[in-house]
């Protein structure tokens, strides 16, 4: 059940990003780098939605937890990027596990609303708790000597960070590709398609869903930590409901039935917005039309196009 075309396309896209970065210049490689951090968020939503069966409208909250964890811990970790990324991953996983424990017990639509409640609450409290979060103004990434596995690196929207995040994302996707062929993954699919049947067959359906959701949280948290390192500034807007909605749209545009769709969705939406912004202020209007057309013509997202051609 490994999706060979999916992994090859997404790896090719990532490769093109890294190869193009030195040519297109500093601005665009910064845009790419930030897009890569959001790809983690989009993938995280797809994992939660399609494999843990939880329509999590709060993935940005999890992403934000990773970002804030990286910023808060940066001084005590003395700029050790590997540990900061680990901290972000752990924070994301932890927050998702807590959310998941509650959301799992709810109906499908109930879980969506439960997630909205988490997102709204996080946003209200985060805005008020300025001492911890910096509120709307946000917190800067402390100026430290950052190093990753012995190499000195500069934080920010630069080529090094782009390559590093892309490599992590590629590793993640390859890892997923590998796991998706194992027997464990078949259980995950069985649980996702029919939890009751899986339960009867002797599998702990709830535990499988929780683990998948927590892993999705880890992915979002890792993306959040990378976002903090690349943006060098994290403001509370990152946990807003509209950020979560954005992540859902990215995933859906790419194709929510495939983990490999998220990266494509992010690139399409963000790059189209970026290019449009040079010509008009009516970017949202055009993006809106684009979304409607995608829903009508590519209901399975861009990755669905691939499946369609495969079937033919």
């Amino acid at each position: 059940m490994r999706d060979r075309a999916g992994i090859l396309i997404s790896l090719a896209v990532l490769l093109v990003l890294c190869a193009a970065a030195p040519i297109v210049g500093e601005f665009w490689s910064g845009v790419f780098a930030r897009c890569v951090t959001w790809m983690f968020l989009a993938i995280s939503f797809t994992l939660a939605y399609s494999y843990a069966n939880i329509p999590s409208v709060a993935q940005a909250t999890v992403f934000g937890a990773g970002a804030y964890a990286a910023i808060w811990l940066a001084p005590s970790l003395q700029g050790n990027v590997a540990l900061m990324l680990l901290a972000g991953t752990a924070a994301g996983g932890l927050v998702a596990a807590v959310f998941g424990l509650l959301l799992l017990r709810m109906s499908h639509s109930g879980a969506a609303i439960g997630a909205i409640i988490f997102a709204v609450t996080g946003s209200i409290l985060g805005n008020a708790a300025v001492t911890f979060t910096g509120g709307a103004d946000g917190l800067p990434l402390p100026a430290l000597n950052f190093h990753f596995l012995g190499l000195v690196i500069t934080a920010g929207p630069n080529n090094t960070m782009l390559v590093m995040s892309t490599a992590l994302l590629a590793a993640l996707l390859i890892g997923f590709w590998y796991v998706s062929g194992t027997s464990t993954w078949r259980i995950v699919r069985a649980v996702q398609q029919n939890p009751v049947r899986a339960q009867v067959l002797g599998y702990n359906a709830a535990l499988f869903r929780l683990v998948v959701f927590a892993v999705a949280g880890c992915v979002a948290g890792l993306g959040g930590a990378l976002y903090a390192l690349i943006s060098r500034h994290v403001a509370i807007d990152v946990v807003s409901l509209s950020m979560s909605l954005k992540s859902i749209l990215w995933a859906a545009v790419g194709g929510v039935t495939s983990v490999y769709g998220g990266p494509i969705g992010v690139l399409v939406v963000q790059l189209v917005s970026e290019v449009l912004a040079r010509w008009t202020v009516r970017v949202d209007l055009i993006i809106g039309v684009m979304l409607v057309l995608i829903a009508l013509w590519l209901p399975q997202g861009i990755m669905g196009l691939l499946r369609r051609s495969e079937r033919n």
């Binding site: 210049g25 601005f27 845009v31 930030r34 209200i124 805005n127 910096g134 103004d137 946000g138 970026e274």
Partner: protein, 418 residues
């Protein structure tokens, strides 16, 4: 550098401004009369869409119109100006990204910055790294203090600390000593609350209780009703001030209301109708020309197609005069320092900053239309007279002036040492 505004110049500028207003455009290419050489490129990081689009409308109008006017009047150091405007969408990620676009792709020489503090705080450091001068339009004191103060940033508009220091004394004298604050429970609201409390205390008054308004609360009434009815005045730093005032008046609160600094740029005061009667504001500029006694401001109004009551003829909207002044003074600062320091290219910007730190004040003139402006070199913050405005009989009129000297507060950084 005394530039007289000629009638023909104004005519040409207003034609250009009308043409500019006719179609939404992102990149402004200005014509240049009597200028020569490569254009000086000014980037404008502006809120054209999103929640702050109301104030962005005026900054965009002012920047476009005034750059056209400058071009029609000899440009800066004889060189034409090219203005490149980008839209932040009132969002940090988009705003920072567009700033990088200005710096790296458009390779602008100077930046007129965002009004939103979160965008400004994230942006000024990036401008600083790229050694490009960032003239912040944010009025949050935090953007020029402590860790956020950077050498490549100046602020030619006022900020929350200065308005509170200046206005609190005046209002404590004329309204009373017992105050309550109804604030938005976000960074900006909390900071306004704290500065106001400091200002009121320093003037011998006290702020009794402060009621927080949670983000996105749909109904304000449950929170409005908790405001102490025995207070003399209510200070309101909330983004939905219009709604707050209407509710307060509808619920029988007849206290004096003071809106936080530059709130009158967030909406058209005439929307308040009878509810607005008596409401005070704190701005850097009045709205009606007869409150200003400034031929220079009259010229600017004319160039931008604004009548003597502050109504723009094209849109019928009342001008956000503080926004207009902020942009005018920023351009005035650029013109003065480019011309005096002999700035030629980006490489000269560091020298321009050194020069600007040695200029203690800017005299009243075409781009400093309301009076002298002093510049504090330590934190690159300008100080100007603060106008206390009040709605009276359906008009927004000048109630008093807090002279710039009493708006000065202690700086917590010294950029001249670096």
């Amino acid at each position: 550098m005394t530039t007289k505004i000629s009638r023909r110049g104004i005519l040409a500028a207003s034609v250009a401004a009308t043409a500019a207003a006719a179609l939404p455009r992102i990149v402004g290419k200005s014509f240049a009369a009597g200028t020569s050489g490569d254009p000086i490129v000014i980037g404008h990081q502006c809120e054209l869409t999103g929640w702050d689009a109301a104030t962005g409308f005026w900054r965009n109008k002012a920047a476009t119109g005034l750059c056209d006017w400058l071009n029609a009047n000899g440009g800066i150091a004889g060189r034409p100006i090219k203005l490149v405007t980008v839209d932040t969408k009132s969002d940090v990620d988009a705003g920072v990204n567009q700033l990088r676009n200005l710096l790296l792709e458009e390779e602008v020489d100077f930046v007129l910055g965002s009004e939103i503090s979160s965008i400004a705080i994230a942006s000024n450091k990036i401008a600083n790294e790229n050694k490009r001068l960032y003239l912040t339009m944010s009025s949050s004191e935090a953007t020029t203090s402590k860790d956020n103060a950077v050498p490549y940033q100046f602020r030619l508009t006022t900020n929350s600390a200065a308005t509170a220091a200046g206005a609190a004394r005046k209002y404590v004298e004329s309204v009373g000593s017992r105050w309550v604050t109804f604030f938005a429970d976000i960074k900006w609201g909390q900071s306004e609350r704290d500065w106001w409390a400091k200002g009121v205390a320093a003037s011998g008054g006290e702020v009794g209780n402060a009621i927080a308004l949670p983000v996105d609360a749909p109904d304000l009434l449950p929170f409005v009703m908790q405001i102490d009815r025995n207070a003399d005045g209510i200070f309101i730093p909330v983004l939905n001030a219009l709604q707050a005032i209407q509710l307060l008046r509808n619920s029988g609160y007849d206290q004096k209301i003071v809106l936080a600094g530059q709130s009158f740029s967030l909406f058209d005061y005439r929307e308040l109708g009878e509810f607005g009667d008596g409401v005070f504001g704190i701005e850097t500029a009045p709205v009606a020309l007869n409150d200003m006694n400034s031929p220079d401001m009259a010229n600017i109004y004319k160039a931008l197609g604004i009548d003597e009551n502050g109504v723009e003829s094209a849109s019928g909207k009342v001008v956000g005069s503080s926004m207009l002044l902020g942009i005018a003074q920023s351009l005035g600062f650029l013109k003065a320092n480019v011309e005096q320091s002999g700035w030629k290219t980006k490489a000269d910007t560091a020298a321009l900053i050194k020069h600007a730190e040695s200029v203690p004040s800017y005299s009243k003139g075409p781009l400093f239309p309301l009076g002298d402006v002093t510049m504090r070199a330590q934190d690159h913050q300008a100080f100007m007279d603060i106008y206390l405005l009040q709605m009276q009989a359906g008009a927004l009129v000048k109630y008093g002036v807090a002279p710039k000297d009493i708006t000065i507060y202690d700086a917590d950084v010294d950029l001249t040492q670096g």
